[in-house]
């Protein structure tokens, strides 16, 4: 019984949240890595692009709600999602046409691109705060729990409850569908292969008749979809606050780099690695050990590796460790 309790405890506090947060980071990191692979720069505006997409989703959700439209048990935001995606694509293409294209044609170096993307980050940042404000917004409606901790306890008779929020299941399913479609596209379709080819060797791709404009357009479309989906899932699961989205840039970049920058599958795994590290290292294991240890050996402290206040330090530490020990594996074939 104690053993089962301890397993449920970890599932409830580490595995379920880890899968959810990992999915959100994975989607974000794949977006960053695609931009890096194809457009060849680290896009610091990505967190705010996610915030922008989510903001549109929220506005449309509010509008729908005001008209009395809902999605039954599911959050209304899911109906609003396609609109959010379209707006985000429009914004990405707008900034590409007005800003990035200029530097691309000038063949500016990657550092210039980073600074330019920082500029766009500030602009998006301001736009979002002007339109929707800097405050925390909860836009999750619909059915909250698939399984409540109390129900689980009653059902199983265990001490520990397992709560599963519907947003967690929605996140997982959406991520699976999105990633399956994306990897099918990249690996199986001709256009997807052209995109990989362009990312692998631009000169050769051009000489193979691949139209760079088309690839760039396609990349922004895919990235905008990923950003909006990731942002919306994160917001539904936790809440929407522009500053949090900006902050999430760090774990997302860490996931991207851990996975090997420019490598979408790596970014996917990287997202989960960062999420699980963050959650597992900030969890207090006291109760867990209480279940497993004889009373005499019960821990007196919380057994928490790092306080949750420092969770961003974990991403940062992983980032630095990877950069120091595996820089070649990470920047394989890509020149910064």
């Amino acid at each position: 019984m104690d053993f089962l309790n301890s397993i449920i405890l970890l599932t409830n506090f580490i595995i379920v949240p880890g899968i959810t947060y990992g999915s959100q980071l994975a989607l974000g990191a794949i977006g960053v890595t695609l931009i890096y692979g194809v457009l060849r720069f680290a896009n610091f505006a990505y967190g705010d692009l996610m915030a922008f997409g989510t903001m549109i989703v929220i506005l449309v959700t509010w509008y729908l709600q005001s008209k009395g439209i809902s999605f039954g048990l599911l959050p209304t935001a899911l109906i609003a999602l396609p609109v959010g995606i379209l707006f985000t694509i429009a914004v990405s293409l707008f900034f590409d046409k007005t800003v990035f294209e200029y530097y691309r044609e000038k063949k500016s170096n990657p550092v210039t691109f980073i600074v330019v993307s920082l500029g766009i980050m500030f602009v998006l940042n301001a736009v979002v705060r002007i339109i929707i404000g800097p405050n925390d917004i909860n836009f999750m409606d619909g059915h909250k729990f698939i399984m409540k901790a109390r129900e689980f306890k009653q059902l199983t008779g265990l001490n520990e409850g397992l709560a599963i929020k519907s947003t967690q299941v929605i996140t997982l399913i959406t991520t699976i569908i999105t990633c399956a479609l994306l990897f099918y596209f990249l690996n199986k379709t001709k256009t997807g292969k052209s995109m990989r080819a362009y990312s692998d060797n631009e000169d050769l791709a051009l000489l193979s008749g691949i139209d760079p404009k088309r690839i760039v357009l396609l990349t922004w479309v895919i990235v905008s979809i990923l950003a909006t989906v990731a942002g919306t899932l994160y917001g539904l699961d936790k809440s929407f606050k522009p500053f949090t989205y900006f902050n999430n840039l760090l774990p997302i970049f860490a996931a991207t780099i851990v996975g090997g920058i420019g490598n979408p599958l790596g970014a996917f795994y990287g997202g989960f690695l960062i999420a699980f590290s963050e959650i597992a290292l900030t969890y207090a294991y006291k109760k867990f050990f209480k279940y497993l240890m004889p009373e005499s050996l019960e821990p007196s402290t919380l057994i928490q590796f790092i306080s949750t206040d420092y969770k961003f330090a974990i991403s940062f530490a992983i980032l630095i460790i990877v950069l120091i020990f595996r820089p070649n594996g990470i920047f394989k074939g890509k020149v910064i």
């Binding site: 596209f185 379709t189 001709k190 256009t191 997807g192 292969k193 052209s194 990989r196 080819a197 692998d200 060797n201 000169d203 050769l204 791709a205 051009l206 000489l207 193979s208 008749g209 691949i210 139209d211 760079p212 088309r214 396609l218 479309v221 074939g333």
Partner: protein, 258 residues
Amino acid sequence: MSNILVKVENIVKSFGGLVALNDCSLDIKTNSITGIIGPNGSGKTTLFNVITGNLKPDTGNIFYNGIEITNYESHELFHLGILRTFQIAHEFTNMTVIENLMVVPGDQKGEKLLYSLLYDKKIKKEDEEIRDKAMEVLQFLKIEHLKNERAGNLSGGQKKLLELARTMMVDAKIVFLDEVGAGVNKTLLKDISESILKLNQDKGYTFCMIEHDFNFISELCDPVIVLAEGSVLFKGTAQEVKQNEQVIESYLGKGIKK
């Protein structure tokens, strides 16, 4: 005049203070195998880069079949049938050999973005045709056993063959070969030279090739153009080049083997 396929007129290209091409003019005849030789740094590769759209010239014009193509992008030139290989072999490292070839036809004309996402009989059929074509090319170059090898794992010589294979995926009009023979062993070199001849005679490809091995050049090329310090020093048959004093002088002390 109509049998001139590519006309290069007064091209100047400099990198900072270094003038790599200095008022360079030359013609490439339709269906010829034109050789280009010259000491290291004489601007041969730069000439190719300028013609195939990798670099923009500072001044000068390039014509293809009478159309000016000076400012065309590489992928546009590709669709006109102008292809090239690189001196340092390029490949899509993380794709297999056959995948490398299958991306080559670039974007299908009229292929819609959304369309390509959908599972479609027509696309599937097209895909199979491209695969067949790729297999045919690999067989032609006798490297079909490498089809599932990751391109990044190929040897230098095999990468050169893959480059050549790429140019055969479409009906090219003219192919620029930048030292395909360098670093390739004798047997492979013979295969390559046979392939070039066969493509030239059977499929009407025009070739323009940079090569250091003069035997290789004299076997295949007529005419041979000698570049020195960014412009054309001499043009003639391989025999004439060999006997020309200016050419010999430009190579003196440069250690080029005859």
